[in-house]
Amino acid sequence: MAFSTISFLFAFLPAALILYRIVPERARAVILILISLVFYAWGDVRHLPVLLFSMVFNYVAGLELGLLKQKGAKRRAKYAMMLAVAVNLFLLGYYKYTGFFAGSLARMFGRAPSSSVMPLPIGISFFTFSAISYILDIYLERARYSRDFVQVAAYICMFPKLISGPIVQYKDMKGRFTAPKMTMSNFLAGTQKFVVGLFKKVLLADALGAAFAGISALDGMAAATAWLGMIFYSLQLFFDFAGYSDMAIGLAQILGFPIDKNFDYPYISDGIADFWRRWHISLGRWFRDYVYIPLGGNRCSTGRQILNLLVVWLLTGLWHGAAWTFVFWGIWHGGLLILERFALKNLRELIPKAVRIAVTVLLVFIGWVFFFSPSMGSALLWIRQMFGGAGLGIWNGATGYFLRTNLITLIAAVICCGPNLGRTVTNLSYQKGRFGVIISVAVYIVLFLCCISYIVGSSYNSFLYFQF
């Protein structure tokens, strides 16, 4: 169940919060597990057993691994860790990648790939990575195992981050579930973050998404339309994901679990490395802590570092989706990072910052073309159309239509890409006394009401009985 739905906002969330609030602190973790399971079942009841299996299996595996560690049986601990990680990866691979690899193999042998698509358990990429974090934190001795099933289960399934992240790591969450406190200041700040996230998702991302869908449906695009489409998608993806993360972080904070931010104005990065410090921070951290550093990280030869980076980025690409376009997208970012770190290190300093930002954003946006295209062929076709490949010139009527009808959304989105708006609102509420407070509250409330109208409105569909 998505956060930006009527069911969540006006039924699940109020009921869950009241329930969570009235039980004693010691019982809250159990309640959190129960409401999280209802949350999961509401969206995808048939795969609830997958989630339950992950919770139970990783608890048991963590127990065994921890006891082996305690006994000092290094070798056996390693095997136990490998087995546990393998089971988690198998679960992910079975649902997410079977079709991809079988299809690629079939094509390699000249057969048509089977068209049956396995439905993916919601959030499996996220909760599996949380679970692996638990196992590896014990193995790498960043955290102790837990004897208490509730602690592990609540960590894996807590609903704010269950289906779309952020991918919190166990070492950051350990021990927090014993008696979670709901404080007024957490509630207030969390609600505010949630409303901001809702605004990003509903008013910006969904509107940009509709514009992008309109452009994708065109038979052919003038060059400027293709550029516009790429920009719409890039902004949509950011606000969709960042909005979702904001809502998740806000909810977690309300429940008493502050989580680090997941996005930090990525579209003002001045380099690819900088971009990945600002985009989906929790995923980058996960790959750094559990893949890159264990592989040797920066403390090895240049050749080995390049290999490590390629491995990490190949996996990052595959994590986002099982298709060659995602593999290419991962390699694209990995390659750019390697170039930036090893070849262009000194050159970077000579370029003014504004140009660095512009180039970075352009490279990232071109990467998204591969991200949104269903196949490599259509991605290349899109890029060709960005340079007039459709023979419709640079600009036509459709370009004007999409630009004009989405101009306000576009401007709002671009402003929200930078920190200035947020700063202004914050300053308003800090400095200008009562008047400033009223203004900033009014902004939030109007945004919230607009969000509700859009959420209700998007569920509006007339049933065209005897349509034609």
């Binding site: 169940m1 009527i6 509401w42 609600t191 004009r404 509250v441 109208s453 209700v456």
Partner: protein, 471 residues
Amino acid sequence: MAYSFTEKKRPSARLMQHRITAICAAVIAGTIAVGSLVLPDRAFSDEENRTLAQAPKLSSASLQSGTFFSDLSSYLQDQIMGRDIWMRLKVAETQMAGMHESGDVYLGKNGYLLEKPAIPDQKKIDRSIEQIRAFKEQYPDLNMVMTLVPCAAAVFPELLPDGAPVHDQLTDIGYVRNKLVDLIPFIEMQTAFRNDSMNQIYYRTDHHWTSRGALDAFQAIRWELGIDTAEYFVPMTVSADFEGTLASRSGCHNQKDTVEVYRPENENYQYYTYYPDSQERIPSIFVTEKLEEKDKYQVFFGGNHPVLTVRTTLDNGKSLLIFKDSYANSFVQFLLPYYERIVLVDPRYYYEDIKTLITSEAITDVLFLYSMNTFAADGSLADVLSQATAETEEASMAAAETEDSSADPAETASSSAAETGAETSSVSEAGTGAETSSASPAENGTDSADAESGAAEESADQQEVSAEEAG
């Protein structure tokens, strides 16, 4: 001192802002949640023109399959407090943000709402064309005419928001025309519509054409139907507050349409419409009660029916079969002065035998009248026609053989059905005795049997089954 004062003040202002925002948000959300829970559920939404979801029943089966949760979500969505108000707010915001689309409907100029032309399903179109050709080849003596009505956005692109991209539907229609025109006269409508653009051809809030649009189409098509004496038709406004399907779909409710019906100046005939589904005969093609309802376009025949028959007191031997969608419903008002019989078949809901219908109703003319949006996406016309063209000989042989076996269910069918059957056969004998004389006696026998069973659905089904068994 001043310094420490601001230090103290800053966090409290921030906290106040947080506090008021959070409390307001919580109050709003809580009010909506409680309000939706407490207020009675609505059964029907006038604005959306559909029944609303009701509270789902909890059972272990629905819980396991997930339908309980999806039904619950629909229920919560549909019964949210102030649903229509939120929707109006959304449309207002959309327009304020400079957008010209809502619910996949273009908010066009002069208050027009325009649906997007359908992207055709090429396979379905080609199959329909193939079946229409086969149908004409099977019935070369029937005078057939075809037209496909473009949607408003295709004929009047100037009503669209500037630059709004639309699929070129006129090209699609031209494609169908080129594939058929050597066999069947095919009339394109855009010129006639554009020449009459000072009148309203399409409703502003509905996807249908107005009666005026249908009249223009009639004038463009009548020569091909062999109608050379034009009656003068007089319009009459029957409703001035029609909000059609596009208003429902977009949520845009700031326009109302006028519904007109036409009657010929000299109505020197009488007629009735026979509704086989209710077995009623009504001396009108208009169902005025529908003007009290939301969808006022249903004033024509009360909406779509699988098959309808209009009989007039004229005695000219002309009997028209129309394969149609709802666009034809408002077209028939102009045909009344010219035909003894008009049969409307809506292939989307029609599961009976066309061959039988053609003989029993002594069809002389056939009109294919569709909106392109339906034709582009619907395969049922091809289905119905393919039944008519497939293995005619064998089918009629099989039907003749099973005549005895089907006699029992036909007799046990309700008496009114039997009456209709008798009525049908007697009229066809009287009206077109010359026409049917060419048919062989065996075929004649099948006809009357089919006409009877046509009225009683169960027996028709039985006959179909036994025909299959025999074949």
